[in-house]
Each structure stands twice: as structure tokens, then as C-alpha cells.
């Protein structure tokens, strides 16, 4: 059973079509990378898959469950890392992660484990507002994988991370994590290297959908023209 089955997905914002006619299928354990200029609908697509936005046309199946009727069944099995860290700045990393752990029914010990994995355990008792963006991003990442999701939805995940941090988090969100991934990327080289399947969006429309091996860098650059 594929991890994602999308058929003719449509989502509008008033009269403007944010997404129209998006169709794709992604097998488990594979990585889909979405390219496209700003406003193309990448974030919208990610949010629909995350069950945060209702599809308004077409059909969407995530991990076998139909959205939006069966959203509740799939929520605990996916992890989202968007532009916002989804953390409370007044609370510490530890408190934030504990809160999310309780929401997801995850044991407290896992919080400690993850903080170590992202190298944030030494500064885990300081309010997030005192930390740098890169550190907050690492905590946000920990939040996204805290409940060991099968599907990862990542919106430019490496944006605020230095190369050392990128290596650090690879086992959690990288190819070797074994999870199914959907990544929105602005980096043609890096994105292409990670991808199994490439989706190109422009103005909400699907203009490119091919296995990564068949896609050249130049074609991706074309999207942004």
C-alpha cells in the first residue's frame, strides 16, 4: 500500500486556486521532493497532507487513510516540520517537548533521548527565546520526530542548520531514517540528490512529476523562471 495516493487534489483560497489537479503516488520509505517558486502551493500541499487543511477537490489518502474523513487515524503517524517551529518561546526545550510527548502519548524518557540526539540537552532548560534560530530549529525537529512518525513532511528543513547540524539530524530525518518523506526544497542540487520522486509546482498546477533519475537540474531551474 502506497504511503501517499493523491488524485486531482484541489484547494482554493477564495477564488484563487492554491492547488489544482495535483496527482501523485509515493511508496513507503521513498522521498518526494517538491520544487516550485514561492506561492506555487508547496506549503499548501504539505499542510493538506498533514491534515491541517481540508482537501476541497479530488481525493487524498495518507498512509491508507482518506482525508479528511479519516484524518484522526493518521495524525499520530506523521510529523511536520514547517517554517514555524510550533514551540512556545517562553518555555524551555524540555518543557516544550514534554508537552508534545504528553499530547502524543509518548513516554517522558524519549524527550531526554531526543534532546541528546539533536545535541540540545545541555541547553534544554533555558527558555527558547534565549536560543539561536539554529538551536530552535533542532528542537523543532526533535518535536517533529518525537512520536516516531512513519511519514515526515518537511518544509525546507535544512534552512537554519549549519553543515554540522545537518549531519547530526540525518539519522532522524535523512534518507537513512527509513521514513517516507515529503520535502519542500529550494535547493535543486541537494533536493535532487535526496529525491526518489520529483514534483514541480507552478501557480498551484503540477508541471512536473517524474522519478528523480529522469530529471535534470536544468529542468528544475526552469520552474523558477
Amino acid at each position: 500500500m502506497p504511503a501517499l495516493e493523491v488524485e486531482g487534489l484541489a484547494r482554493h483560497y477564495g477564488e484563487r486556486k492554491a492547488l489544482s489537479g495535483v496527482s501523485l503516488s509515493l511508496q513507503r520509505g521513498r522521498t518526494l521532493v517538491v520544487f516550485g517558486p514561492n506561492g506555487a502551493g508547496k506549503t499548501t500541499l504539505l499542510r493538506v497532507l498533514a491534515t491541517l487543511l481540508r482537501p476541497q477537490g479530488g481525493s487524498v489518502r495518507v498512509l491508507g487513510s482518506r482525508l479528511p474523513e479519516e484524518s484522526w487515524a493518521v495524525r499520530g503517524r506523521l510529523g511536520l516540520l514547517g517554517h514555524e517551529p510550533l514551540l512556545y518561546r517562553e518555555l524551555t526545550a524540555r518543557e516544550n517537548l514534554r508537552f508534545h510527548a504528553r499530547l502524543h502519548g509518548v513516554a517522558d524518557e524519549r524527550v531526554g533521548e531526543l534532546l541528546e540526539l539533536v545535541a540540545m540537552d545541555r541547553r534544554s532548560r533555558e527558555p527558547l527565546k534565549t536560543l539561536s534560530r539554529g538551536m530552535v530549529q533542532r528542537v523543532a525537529l526533535a518535536r517533529a520526530v518525537l512520536h516516531d512518525p512513519e511519514l515526515l513532511l518537511l518544509d525546507e528543513p535544512y534552512a537554519n542548520l549549519d553543515p554540522a547540524a545537518v549531519e547530526l539530524v540525518a539519522p532522524l530525518i535523512g534518507v537513512c531514517s527509513g521514513r517516507t518523506r515529503v520535502i519542500c526544497s529550494h535547493d535543486p542540487t541537494g533536493g535532487l540528490a535526496e529525491a526518489d520522486l520529483v514534483l514541480g509546482l507552478r501557480a498551484g498546477r503540477q508541471v512536473l512529476l517524474r522519478p528523480a533519475a529522469d530529471v535534470a537540474r536544468a529542468e528544475i531551474a526552469e520552474l523558477y523562471r
Partner: protein
């Protein structure tokens, strides 16, 4: 469900303890308002329906301050998404927020009622307190239910600080009516009467209806 509400409540109170955004402001506002009333009405001592009116209006406006800030942290820091992604019943947020507001109101009253007794009230606190507690409790429940619903409605709009009070005040008028009418005999000099039961009943009914409405409609405000 209980675990979720517990986790949310804990988070709310933790944030409030760190930032002290709501409760101190509400309490200070109430005490200052009593002073303002003294000068505005030119009275040293009030009792009966005047006392009931001053108390309820002050509590109402202080409550609005708390209502305004109830969802702001979540709206600004993406807390909604974090919660919406969790495999939990979404009504848990309504319950947790309403309980939070209720706790704020109780703390507010712990400060405001003695302050009121000290500054303006004629009858002594010991005499009015037994009758007043029940009325305040019922009023608080209604304010918590309606305040949470209105706060959720107003927080993701453009003029949230203005719309919140504008929406809340008319909806809270019946609670002010019920609360003030029920408190009037309690706060009167002379014979110490209890609050009239028909007003307690009205308050209770209002709380119940709007509690149910808030429960039914809250999910629609969270989803997208």
C-alpha cells in the same frame, strides 16, 4: 482526554507563571477600577444594588482583559498547529482553555472581592461571603464558556483586541443581570438574605446552554 486536558492545562499555567501576562493585570485593573468608582460616584460606602452593580461590572471588564489574551500565545507561536497535529480530541483545547480562564477568574476574585470589601462595601465580608460564593461561581462558569468561545473566534481576525470585547459584552449581559440581581440582597445592609434562587437558576441555565453551544461549535473554529 483527561491526559490531554491535563497536559494543555499544565502548559497554560506554566506559560502564565513565566509571563504573568493575564492574572496580575486583571487583578490590578479590578482594584484600580474600584478606586475610580469611588471618585466617579463620590461615595465612600456602597451596598445593595449599587454594590452589586459595581462589583459585577468591574469583574466583567477585568475578565475581558483575560479573555483577550487567552489564545494569543497559541495564535502567534503556532501552538494551534502543534495541537492540531496530535491524535487527540480537539474539544480538549476548549476544556483546557475554559478551565484556565476559570482559574484566572477565581484568582481575580480572590483579590478583587476582599479589595472591594475593604474599599467600598458597606456590609462586612464575613456576612456577604457565603451568599456571594455561589453567585460568583455560577457567573464564572458562564464567563469561562462564553469567553473561551469568543476568544477563539476573535484571535485569528485582524482587529482581535477590539472584536473580542465587542462580541463578548452583549453575550455576557445576561450573566451580569443574573449576577447583579442575585447579589443585591446578599450585599445589602440589614437583613442578610441569600441570593434568590430564580436568578441562580437562570444563571445555571445560561451557563449550561452556552457551555453546550461552545462545545458543539469549537471544533469548527480550530480546523482549516
Amino acid at each position: 482526554m483527561r491526559r490531554t486536558v491535563g497536559a494543555l492545562l499544565r502548559k497554560e499555567l506554566l506559560v502564565e507563571l513565566r509571563t504573568l501576562e493575564s492574572v496580575p493585570g486583571m487583578s490590578l485593573f479590578a482594584v484600580t477600577t474600584f478606586v475610580v468608582f469611588h471618585f466617579a460616584l463620590n461615595r465612600n460606602v456602597v451596598e445593595g444594588d449599587l454594590a452589586a452593580g459595581i462589583l459585577w461590572v468591574t469583574l466583567l471588564f477585568a475578565a475581558i482583559l483575560g479573555v483577550n489574551r487567552l489564545f494569543v500565545a497559541d495564535a502567534e507561536e503556532g501552538g494551534f498547529d502543534g495541537f492540531l497535529l496530535a491524535p487527540v480530541d480537539r474539544s480538549a483545547m476548549l476544556l483546557a482553555k475554559a478551565l484556565t480562564l476559570l482559574i484566572y477568574l477565581l484568582v481575580l476574585e480572590l483579590v478583587a472581592v476582599p479589595a472591594f470589601a475593604l474599599l467600598l462595601l458597606g456590609p462586612s465580608l464575613g456576612h456577604v461571603l457565603p451568599g456571594l460564593v455561589g453567585v460568583l461561581a455560577l457567573g464564572d462558569l458562564g464567563v469561562a464558556a462564553i469567553g473561551t468561545l469568543v476568544a477563539a473566534l476573535a484571535v485569528r481576525t485582524r482587529a482581535r483586541d477590539l472584536l473580542g470585547p465587542l462580541l463578548a459584552l452583549p453575550l455576557l449581559v445576561p450573566i451580569v443581570i443574573g449576577g447583579a440581581r442575585a447579589s443585591t440582597p446578599v450585599l445589602s445592609m440589614g437583613h442578610h438574605a441569600g441570593p434568590p434562587s430564580r436568578w441562580l437558576l437562570t444563571l445555571g441555565l445560561y451557563d449550561l446552554v452556552f457551555g453546550l453551544i461552545a462545545y458543539a461549535l469549537f471544533d469548527f473554529l480550530l480546523e482549516d
